[in-house]
Structures are given as C-alpha cells and as structure tokens.
Symmetry: D2
Subunit: 364 residues, 4 copies
C-alpha cells in the first residue's frame, strides 16, 4: 500500500495553517486586545469541532436505520458509535469548566463587540437537535420561530429543509415498531404482564398510604399514582394512547413503546442485548445533552447575572427553559415506571427463548 | 517522636473491621440476596463519608468566621479548605455515574425492602444544608415541615436546635458588612460607580432595541432590564433594599452586598485577593451542589420513571424543585448583573490603592 | 411484598452509627488533632469501600466463569458488571485529586503517628490483585515476599491460601481455550491470516527503511520489528510459544491467544460481540489500574519527595515499579501488533458466518 | 460603545467556513473513506486548538516574568492564568478517552495513508515544551536531535531559534533568586532550619531500622536516606550544589531552591500566598503533562501493540521514556523531602512576620 501513497506532513494533514489562523479577537479592532477573548473563541471552536464529529456519527447511525434491513452487524456498529458520542458528550460537559475560568469582568472586556452574535446561531447545534428529532412543536416557544429570524437565509433554508426529513427519533420508532416480538402463539405475555404491573402499582399505593407524611402529601402522591395507572392502561388502548400523544405526554408510537418495554424487560436475552444497548444509549445521550444545557445555563448566569446576552435575550433563562423541554427520548426514561423486577416477570415459553437465543452455542 | 508512638497497623487505623462489616443487604432477609443491593449500600455510604469530610471542613471554616478577627492567615486557610470542598463535590457529582450502572430492574429487585427509608433522612446532608444557611422559609414547601416528620426524635431535635444557630451564610454576611472599604474621604466611588453602571444598562437597552427578534421578545427583554435597573438602584436605598429582602429577591444585607461588589470589582488589589477567592468558592460550592441535585434528579427519574420513591414520595420531582430554590449564595451569582469591565471602572485614589497594597514589596 | 417487610430507617439501613464512628485521628492521642488527618482517614476508607464493591463484582464474575457452562445470558451479565467496575475505577482515579488538596506540610503534621502502617497492608487490594491473577512470580521483587512480612498471620495465611486458587486470568484463559472457532473444515483461516500479517509486517519494514531518521534508529526499529516477526510466528509453533511463556513474554496459553485474536478480528460477528466486550473490558481494567498506580506514585512523590513512607520504604519508587510490571492482561494489549484492517481480513466462508449469526432475525 | 461596532454573525466570528472545512480524510484519496479517520483528525485538531490557548496563556505569563518588576497585581494574574492552564490540561487528559473509542482495526483502515506524519511534528507542542524550559540536554536522547530531522526547515529554524531564548523555567528561577527573604539580621533561620531537618531525617533512619522487612530492604532504604542527607546538606554548600546541578540531580539555582523552600515552609504568610500558588501550579502543570504523556503512551500501545507508528518509530516506547525524563519543574516535587511540619518550624521573629503581613488590616 504505502508504495503509491504520497508522504504526509503532520501540519498539512491537519491543515493547521487554516485551523490556527481562524482566531481573530474583535477587541483588537477597537483597541487593545482583550486577553481572554482568545479563550472565548477557542472554546466555541472546539465545541463546533465536536459538533461536527457528533454529526458525523449520527449521520452514519441514521444511514443504518434507513437501510433496507438492520441486521446485528449493523446494530453493533450503531451501539459502538453511540457509545463514542456519549464519551464526547462527557468531555463537552466538562469543558464548561474551562470557560468558567474566565471572570465576568474579563468577559465584559469584549462582550460588547460581539453583538448581536449568539449561540442560537450555531447551525451545527440546531442540526444536531433536528436530526435527533426536536421538532418545532416540541421546542419551547422561543425556539419555534424567533430564533430563525436571527439566521441568514442560507442557514434558515437549510434547517427548514432538514426539518422536513424523518429524524433519528422517527427511525428508531419505526425500527421498534417493526419488531415481531409482540405476538407469540399461545403466549399471553401482555395479559400476564398487565396483571403483574397492576399488582406492583397496588403495592405502591399501599406504600403511599402507610408513609405519607401528611394529608397534603397523601393526596398529591395518590393523584400522581393515578396518572401512572391511567398512562399504563393507555398503553393497551389505541384510543387513549392516541390522546396521550396528542397531549404530548408520550411521543413514541404505541407499538414502539411496547417493543421498547419488552426489550427492556428481557434485556438478558441475547437477541435483545444490542437493541437494549441502543435504547439505553439514546436515553443517555438525551440525559447528557440535558446536563450540558443545564451547566451551560449556570455558566451564563454566573457570567452575566440577569444581564442580557450578546444576542439580545437573556440566555440563562432560555437555556434553563430548554433544559427540561427540549428532550427527545424522554419516553425511555418514563418507561421505568412500568418495569417489573426480574422475579415478577412472566417466564418466556421455551419456544420463544429458543427463538431469542443463538443457534450456535460456543460453549457446547 | 516515633519513640513513644505505638506501632500502627493499617487495618486497625482505618477500623476496617467496623467499616467493612457495615453492609447488610436486606434482600437476604427475605430471599436470595439481590446482587446490586451491595452497590446501592456502598454508594450511599461513600456519600455519607464525603458528607462527614465536608462537614469537617465547613465547621473549621465556620470557626474561623466566628473568631474575634479573621486575619489573612485565617482567610487563606478558609480559601484552602473551600477549594478542598469543591474538589470533593466534583467527585460526588461524578459518582452519580456509578449508581447509574444499575438498571431500573436491578433496583426493583430490592427496592420494596427499603420502604420507607429515604434520602430525606440523611441527617448529615440536612446538617450540611443548615450550616450553609438553608432556612425553613428559604426551603421549598415540602422541606419546611413534612420531611421532619420522617425523622426520629433525636435527629429532629438535633436539626431544629441547629437551625437556631447562625449559619455560614450569616457569618459571611457579617464579615462582608464589617469591611471598611465603603467610605473613603474625598473618594466618591459609589457616585462614579452608579453612573457607570447606569451607562452600561443603557447600552443593554440599545442592544435589545436593535436586536429583538419580535415585539414579544422586545417587551419581555425590556421588562427584565427594568427589573435590573430597579434592583440596582435599590442597592443604594435602604427602604427599597429592605423590600427586596422581604420579597426574597436578595438575601445578603445591603452593606454585605456592596462590599461583595467592591471586592469583586477590584479583585486585582492584593488585599482583596483572598476575600475574592472566598466569595467565588462559596458561589461555586452552591453551583456544584445544584448540579449534584440535578444529576441526582435525572438518575432517580431514570431508575423509577414517575414511580414513587421508597420514602413514599416521588423523589424526582422533589429534587427537581429543590435544584433551583435551595440555593444559599445566589446573590453572588446575580452580582454579575452590576459588574463593570475593568476599563469602565473608576480609578482608585492612590491613597486607597496604597492602603490596599503590601507594605512590603518582595520585588523591590 | 411490603406487607411482611419491617419498616426501614435510612441511618439504620446504612449502619451509620458504625460507619461514621470509624474515624479516629491518632494525632489526638499525642496532642492537638491535626485537622487534615480526617481527610487522610476518609479518603482511605472510601477506597476500601470501593475495593469491597469491586471484589463483590469480580467474585460474581468469577463464579460465572467457573460454572458448568458460560452461555450468552451469563456472558452479558459478566460484560455488564465489568463495565461497572470500569466506572468505579474512573472515580478511584479521580479521587487522587482529593488527597492532593493536602499539602506535604499538612501531611507531616501526623505522618509520624502512623508508623509503620502502610498501604501494602490493604488486604482487599492484595486480594483484588490475586483474584485478577497477579502471582508471586509475576510481581516485582519486593512484592514477592517482603511485603508479606508486614501482614499479621491471619491476613498472610488468607492471602497465601487465595494464591493457590485459580485466578480470573486462569478462568478467562480456559474459557478462550475452550472456543471451537479454531478449526473449520475446508477453511484454512490461519494460513491465509499468517500470510496477511506477514505482508503487513513487510509493509512496516518498508516504512521503517523509508523514514528512519538515522542509522541508529533504523537499527533499533528493525530489531523491534524482528521481535514482532518472531513472536508472531511463535503463535503457530508450540515449542517456541512455550519458550515465550517461560520468558514471561506472553502469559496466555497458545489456544487462548489464538481465540482472542480470532474474536478481535471478527468482533462484528454477533456471536463474538459479548466475548469481545469482555476481552476489551479486562484490558481496560488493567489499564485503569495502571493509571491509578501511576497517579498514586506521583501523589506520593509530591507528598514526600524522596522521603520514605510510613511503612519504612519509599512508596513512590515502589508504586512506580509496579506500574509497568504488575499487569495481568497485557497480552490483550500486545495483540494489536498482529491485527489486520478489516479490508485485509480473510473472508469467512458463509457456512461459518451463518454459524456465528443468529438463527432468528428480528428485522425480517 | 456598540454604536460604532459593526454587527457580528456567530459563524463569521468563529470563521467556521475555514474551521469546518479543514477535515480532509486521506483514505478518500485511495478508496472509500474510513469512517473513523474523521475522529482521528478532529481529536488532533482539538488538541492543537488547546495547545494554542495554553501557549497564549504561557506567553502572557512569560511577559509578566520578564517585566521590570513583578508586583502582586501581576503575580495574581499569573496565578489566575496558570489555574486556567491546569483546567485545560485536565480536559486534554480526559480527551484520551475519546480516541480510545476507536478500535485498533478501525485505525488500521487508514493508518498506512498517514506515513510518515507523526505527532513529533506538532510544532506547537514542541514550542510548549521549549517555552516551559525543556532543553536539548534535558530531553531524552531521541528528542535531542533525530526528531528535528523530521521537521521542514521553517519549523526547525523556528524551534532552534526559540531554544536560544530564556525559558519560563529560567524566569521563575531568576524571580525566586531575586527574593530577599534569605538574610534577616539577627535571624539565624537557616541554622535552626538545618538542625530541624537533620532531626527529622534522623527520625526517618529510626523508622527504617525498626521496620525494614529484611536486610536487603534495610540497605536500600538507608542508602536512599543517605542520598537525601547529602542532597540536603548540598543546599548550603555552593561547591556541592554545583556538582548536583552538573549531574542533573537538581536544576534550580541554589538561591532559587532556598527561596522556594522558604516560601513553601511559610506559605501561610500573606506575602507568600501568591508566590506559593504559582510554585504549586507550575508543579501541577508538570504533573498533568506527565500524566498526559503516560495515558497517551497507553493509548498508543493499545492501538498498535508494539507495531511502529506512522512516523516510523514505536511511539509507545518513546512516550513512555519521555514521561519520566521530560519534566521541567521536578525540583518542586523533590522539595517535599526537606519540608518540616508547621509544629517543627522555627518561629519567625515578629519583625519578619510584620514585614510579611499587610500594612492594612481589613478586619480591624
């Protein structure tokens, strides 16, 4: 191979001439350079590089989900790449600590020169959100329109186009819905399962009645338990499930939700191992993104107090509000509400277990 | 020295016989041991050990603040120990990742045996909150009374006693109020300063008007700017400041707030270096505690969905609500709202600078 | 269930009376308490708690490997628990930063009262090393005997007994040796593979000759390449492989090594997914332990310079020397030397691929 | 201000057109793109961006040290910026985990296309080493010349020029040497101090004799103790100190070493607070760099086993060897050898303490 390969020089390979020439502090244009503007620029550039890498992985994952079929070799690749995204997210979350080494005053030395630039204008980040499956109607109000007004036409058109494509969320939903585990002849799994969950919710009610600190709490807890009962029974009732979706209480389709439940319950089954890893990683990705938004919000508050951001809106509030709402795979979290301990789990008929095992045992 | 020192054996020194004999999974009392209960126990025990260490540091810091005078040697010790607390907090925040290696199902295997035990019953954690300065009226509703009902008498009495003591917050407030920097003859610092801040708020208004994405946003932003103007001018008006305090909009006393502002503005002055470090560390401690509550809330949701916790209340909601409200040193964050860039800062008269410098220059 | 469960109180469940009563600074026995001795005690106690948890996981994993057969459900459990161990190790590695908040002088305030206690006397840590598979002859000289002299009889006997048991390393070796993937009729995998590796080593030689900075380097690199050639061909020659083992150049048995290579090369095969995860996790466990030893050594040097430790030996040197040598799964690292890019990999006959796939496809 | 400021757009400010156009996988030039080459490129580019930021801070620090005088305002800035560098280093060390999500095989898919590029060719990293104070004769053999041969002329000339400048190490040495704390009339500090250290080394000898596990260890430990005695007494003997320097056993000048010792011993003195922070941060910077080299070496071994790197030399060995030797501020570590507990410290005459305190007490 190396024969026909032309020799490579480190700096050329990484295009360091361009990369290291892309930091131009604006303070210099109006007076002496503010020492800390360099940090501000580089921290944001590093985030953009990581965004590019995360998008690189997500697009590859997306492609697998869009393919004719998603066999286990592909699924393994998906799981492997999702784990990589999670590792990068951990780093991005810790990186908030680097920008926090800048004091509010050091920031004020150049902040006014950045107006009206704003993190809202990071196209890659919006792209990330859209690919994951954040849609206008699931975004917080501000995100639904007004931030689009800040983008140049090229960027706005690009993102609006992207919003018309199916998202990773949609792909995952279809993939889960396709799963054939929901009906097995002579295996009334769901009846047994519903009974078991109902029993466990009854136990919860008992616990509440025995331990409520006062009437107020008793009432609140019983009410939220009732919500759980309703949501659960809705899982088995097309009509009621639809209305849950309309109220944005669940987002996954009914079939996908049931498959996800089944896979999570029987994750020890070899055939579910990868699928369960993928589901868990998607939930973790959501969680880490949420923590990033949260730490980011804290950092902005620390830097600006309740001052407005360079974009002309108080970033701190904005970020705080998105933290909770801009979540895509929340259903996977909520699912824990209906999980049973292994001990309380209906035994799978051996035919089914067999079907879920390996044809080939490497320890025979 | 070693002459009269009796030889020490590692295991005896650390009392490992007791320490490693304190893990008794309850699942064993009702059936086969749930493998993961050990993790659950040890993770909580490690937290309790860190709480003990943090309390050890906070009490020592507290003692310095309560002393006759707090000279720079003492202040340095305070700063040093606060930094240690921050390091421990980082570890405690990362530790959430360890408990997250337990799946919801693995937790359900023993969860029912823990009823009605609950993290609310961690006396050391409540002690930590109280020493920092969390008071009943600053707590969220649930914390104000009902969790006390869950404690045994000894613990309840102990905490209620503790609540009658001055907190670290109170000490810090008094220490800041004592500072003499607020009046210097012939140095109209505060007039100059107020003018400068007003100018900067005017610039903010301009930015808003130039960049608001739409009328809705314009209105919102101008409103929040007005709040900043009001809060700021209140800093110099005893009456209005009192009312801000009554509405829980600020907690620090007026003098303390102004000292904190002055110190932060002139942090480069040698005499302020330590004081500024202490203020910053206290704010960071608050921030890290907030992030711990937040990650903790995410973890509970992931483990239980919207199920109730073993204590009979949905811990996830509880933790989420405390995240924002149970903050003690929030004022130090808000302060950034009124900070000026060094360039816009009134020059200190040389007499004052001299007073804030070292008598002794080790680079003469 | 909860009916017959007796109510649990948080503090009783965690046995906090014992746990939080196990910190007795010795400085108090000889004068005023050294403030930082508490940190020293608690940091070590936390390590001991984590050691207990890691041992809890390793023993469970060990049990699976010792069982009649290790089916995929079991293997998944093994992989899951190894990941947990890795997460705990990350935390233990970061924890070094907490002890580093103690200055050398703060340590000297109580160091003399600890003589001759020493970390060598942590039975759980030695147990951990032995269970993993660290044997006397693979330990560094000092570890082979003299540290045993520091233990009380009970502990020495316990560890010496333990050394007679098969270790996790032995189990993993047997498990890999059992694998039937090494002979498939009409599939001359190993011949094809050897040829491919030889080609790649030839390419390396070319690279060396083209790029050696000078003759000295050329010689060194060609020599180390020759070592790789010899080691590789030894993999297929019982006699020469045995001699590599006798020189402690490899530790895995020949069959195990070849299975590990095969699994790593074809990790995308569903049937290998879990096995590959286990191999990788074991290598990472080794790596993280090594990094812990290294950071630990740095910390000791920082605390004591080249002073001796309380145990009467210079811990810094000791730890530094163990860092490299006390590794158990080093062969998994070295393996990369013989890996081929997927593109250069001999295609598996469809019969074999079929055998390695799932009987059941959940995306048909 | 904002009036005359021209509006800024996020993407233009960060020059994302250039930044995000600098990733060109070479595998594409010879066949299908290797998915993981993007990760490889971006990880290295992020490192280069952080190097640029660290150099930005170090040059600013360097400038302060080179200035006419280094007053406390400047020293505070130095301490602040060193802390920032440490925070960035932590992130760089964790970043190794991201590249480790690439399997050896995934790397082999494109490795051959990178020949003979090599990390040795990172000019910024070499610059970092040189600015800190790594000189040819303190480097490991390989670094002394042969890697220069891999650089293009422009880069080689640039670095060789840089090597003729005084380094940060030199500046720190001069700064410490300038300190006047070494002679105070009627204060025989150093006599008292030498006696106290000798006593403590005698105690160490006692500990060794009482606890040596066997004769071999006894001998070794006594020998290394003797080395400490010799090195220590050399601190007060110009001739012998010079010879220690010639043997590369110490690098700091004698005066600088004594100042550093004095400052570390009396760090509680307000006037030493900043100086001590700077010394500690420099030592930590060295330590974190060492850990980065170490983790980096582990990662390379994992990726290539004992295969040669793309640069044609086995990077793993190289990095392992530099880990220990390429350290600049090692003397600050070794210093702990001669530290005394506060209790054993000679009391400073009040005249001296006064001199080291603040003229102005803000808690009177």
């Amino acid at each position: 191979m190396p024969k026909n390969v032309k020799p490579v020089y480190y700096g050329d390979y990484l295009q360091l001439d361009k990369l290291l020439d892309s930091q131009q502090p604006h303070s210099k244009m109006y007076g002496p350079e503010a020492h800390d503007e360099m940090l501000f620029i580089i921290v944001h550039q590093v985030y953009e590089l990581w965004f590019k890498q995360v998008l690189h992985e997500l697009r590859a994952i997306y492609k697998e989900f869009r393919a004719e079929q998603l066999d286990d070799r592909a699924l393994q690749l998906v799981a492997h790449r999702l784990r990589r995204v999670l590792t990068i997210q951990d780093l991005m979350n810790d990186q908030v600590g680097v920008i926090e080494t800048m004091t509010p005053q050091e920031f004020l030395e150049f902040r006014d020169y950045l107006v009206p630039a704003s993190g809202f204008q990071s196209i890659q980040f919006k792209e990330l959100e859209i690919i994951l499956g954040l849609t206008r109607d699931t975004r917080i109000a501000f995100d639904q329109q007004s931030f689009y007004n800040r983008l140049n036409d090229e960027h706005r058109t690009y993102l609006e186009e992207l919003e018309t494509q199916p998202s990773l969320f949609d792909c995952v939903d279809q993939w889960l819905s396709r799963m054939p585990f929901l009906q097995f002849d002579d295996f009334s799994f769901w009846d047994v399962y519903q009974q078991a969950v109902t029993d466990s919710l009854d136990r919860d009610e008992e616990i509440i009645r025995q331990n409520a600190a006062d009437d107020g709490q008793l009432e609140t807890e019983l009410a939220s338990l009732q919500v759980n009962r309703d949501n659960f029974s809705a899982l088995f009732n097309n009509e009621r499930y639809k209305s849950l979706q309309e109220d944005n209480r669940v987002r996954l389709s009914q079939r996908a939700m049931l498959s996800a439940l089944f896979i999570t319950q029987y994750r020890e089954e070899p055939a579910f191992h990868l699928a369960h890893q993928v589901i868990t990683s998607l939930a973790e990705m959501d969680e880490k993104l949420t923590i990033w938004r949260y730490k980011h919000a804290m950092m902005v508050q620390r830097m600006l107090g309740t001052k407005i951001g360079t974009g002309g809106s108080s970033g701190h509030d904005y970020l705080r509000r998105t933290t909770e709402q801009n979540r895509v795979f929340k259903d996977f979290f909520a699912m824990a509400t209906y999980l049973l301990p292994k001990s309380a789990l209906p035994e799978l008929p051996s035919a089914v277990r067999q079907a879920l095992g390996f044809y080939f045992r490497h320890d025979d």
